[in-house]
């Protein structure tokens, strides 16, 4: 009985390779994957992106990808690597590189967001860090980087909320913008991903003596958003709203506790008096939101895409 069972298993094992490497299985798998993707698009219509991404990470998708790769690998081996056209080999081989790239991305991608103002150096100070990604299986330590922001240049279209330029110049003549990441090392990229205002406020006494002066990175862009400055030395909060896109006018409300002390629209450097003191926005700089990404899978995906396209070109050229 045992011999019979072993015989059956062995004979099934022999038959499984042609099945695994058959083009008919490729068709079944590709049609199934396409069908699931259409369903995923339906989910994208009904659910927010994070839910869609969770669904896309379900085991059935990984099983399908694994089966597709196994099918491709077995197909290539069964048909004989030497007998295949180089274009076919390159294209199908590139799928493994792309798959390896995505697996590496899932296992090791690191992302952090920093907020650094013009003239400020990024040192990894906690106050500069907005967020960091959760640890991943292959992620070791956060990349150690240092940079100084020399200048941030925003340009808007016809005074409308539509950026036509947003570029940061860093030390060493380096620059980055939202769609042109700066390569900092092997698979490590830094790009300017956001922007805001950093007013320097002053608190003066009645005789004009300076009591407090600081830069504060506020999220008051676009106009209408409100943020506040908490005084380091006094129990005051200054709620600020930018009145225009170039931040020349501000709606300022000053509170002590819940008590409203003063409220007025002021221009830059215009004083606002309250409780025997004076508040004013003396200077204005920009802050940039910088996103650091370390993704070891990205170069593999890019390489896979290039090889795949080259393979298709070669195949078409040979057939022509």
């Amino acid at each position: 009985m045992l011999d019979n069972a072993l015989f059956r298993i062995r004979s099934a094992g022999v038959d499984v390779w042609p099945l695994l490497g058959s083009w008919q299985l490729s068709i079944v798998l590709m049609v199934t994957t396409a069908f699931w993707y259409v369903l995923l698009a339906v989910f994208a219509f009904l659910s927010p992106p994070h839910v869609v991404q969770s669904i896309a990470g379900l085991a059935m998708f990984w099983i399908l990808y694994a089966l597709l790769l196994v099918n491709t690998a077995v197909c290539l081996v069964v048909r004989g690597l030497k007998g295949l056209a180089i274009g076919t080999l390159l294209f199908h081989g590139s799928l493994f590189l792309v798959a390896a790239g995505f697996v590496l991305t899932v296992a090791s991608r690191y992302e952090a967001t920093y907020r650094v103002a013009e003239g400020e150096e990024f040192t990894g100070n906690e106050a500069q860090i907005v967020s960091t990604s959760a640890p991943r299986v292959l992620m070791t330590t956060a990349p150690s980087i240092r940079f100084k922001v020399e200048k941030i240049v925003p340009e808007l279209w016809r005074d409308q909320l539509l950026f036509t330029r947003l570029e940061a110049t860093l030390d060493g003549g380096r620059s980055t913008r939202i769609n042109r990441p700066l390569v900092l090392g092997m698979a490590t990229f830094l790009r300017l991903s956001g922007f805001g205002y950093t007013p320097r406020y002053e608190i003066l006494d009645a005789r004009g003596n300076l009591l407090e002066s600081e830069f504060a990175k506020l999220t008051i862009f676009p106009p209408g958003r409100r943020d506040f400055i908490a005084s380091a030395n006094f129990p005051f909060r200054f709620y600020v709203t930018a009145g225009d896109l170039s931040a020349t006018m501000f709606d300022v409300k000053i509170y002590r506790g819940r008590l409203l002390l003063a409220e007025r629209v002021v221009r830059r450097t215009e004083p606002l008096e309250f409780e025997g003191l004076v508040f004013r926005i003396a200077d204005m700089r920009y802050w940039g939101e910088f996103t650091l990404v370390r993704d070891a899978g990205a170069p593999l995906i890019l390489l896979g895409a290039i090889i795949g396209i080259a393979g298709l070109c070669l195949k078409l050229w040979r057939r022509a």
Binding site: A34, Y37, N179, R180, A298, I301, L316
Partner: protein
């Protein structure tokens, strides 16, 4: 100026389409259909270049611009068609242009996230891929119609049947390149190459469908009407993968460039 050329392209595309379809029965009209298609293409290209100069960017933003760009590429491919499908592509271009003409032709500036050489390359590859796969669908329809006639006479493989596989292969290459450049730009802009944005998901579904057809054509020896039917069927998925994106909630995709079409389909309803 480009608006007037736009109307002229519609007129010549319609004429080319009518002549092309008439040439199915009268071979003597084929040369005239060819010339008319070439003229429609030259006019479309002129309109496209003028628009590029006046807008300051490739005509890729809004329904009017995307219709013009797609028509330029479809007409370019129609010029090289040596089959009786010659008439279908200009007609498709005319339909797309008429649809585009219903929307605002104002040139808008692109935001920084839409300004990049990679975006331009991605767009050109997309138009070329869509145009070629549109031609593939046009040939498929012509093959189905002509085969019906041919069956009554003598069933020799038509020129259309032979070019079906070729347009499928080149279209697949262009579509693959379009997806690759899209993923590259996604990485440059968001730091991730893929995020299951519906434009990516549907593009991948279409890519897999065309890949399946290629396998069936090359390995399963699918040809003629059988392949033509499926080419026409998968083309519906391709159209949905591009056009249906305006129906998705804006939070789910960054790929809605046809704002006026979006306003039209979404109306005042908010999700």
């Amino acid at each position: 100026m480009p608006e007037k050329l736009f109307v002229a392209v519609i007129v010549f595309s319609l004429i080319s389409g009518a002549l092309g379809i008439a040439s199915w029965r009268r071979d003597s009209l084929r040369a005239m259909a060819r010339a008319s298609t070439a003229l429609a293409f030259v006019l479309a290209l002129a309109a496209w270049l003028v628009r590029w100069k006046t807008a300051g960017h490739l005509p890729l933003f809004g329904t009017w611009e995307s219709a013009l760009s797609l028509a330029v590429f479809i007409l370019a491919i129609a010029m090289f068609m040596r089959t009786a499908a010659l008439g279908v592509a200009p007609l498709v271009a005319a339909i797309i242009l008429v649809h585009g003409a219903l929307y605002d032709s104002t040139a808008y500036a692109l935001t920084i996230s839409e300004r990049s050489l990679v975006v331009d390359v991605h767009s050109i590859l997309a138009w070329a891929a869509f145009a070629l796969l549109t031609a593939n669908a046009g040939i498929a329809i012509a093959v189905m119609l002509q085969r019906r006639r041919a069956e009554q006479e003598n069933a020799e493989p038509t020129a259309g049947e032979r070019s079906l596989g070729r347009t499928l292969s080149i279209g697949f290459l262009l579509y693959t390149s379009m997806i690759a450049t899209g993923a590259l730009y996604k990485f440059m802009l968001f730091g991730v190459a893929w995020s299951f944005d519906p434009i990516e998901t549907l593009a991948l579904a279409s890519w897999l469908a065309y890949g399946t057809l290629l396998h069936l054509h090359l390995m399963g020896n699918w040809n003629g009407v059988k392949l033509a039917r499926w080419c026409a069927g998968v083309f519906i998925l391709l159209v949905l993968s591009y056009r249906a994106i305006v129906f998705f909630p804006p939070v789910s995709t960054y790929h809605i460039f046809d704002i006026n079409l979006r306003i039209h389909v979404a109306g005042g309803v908010s999700r």
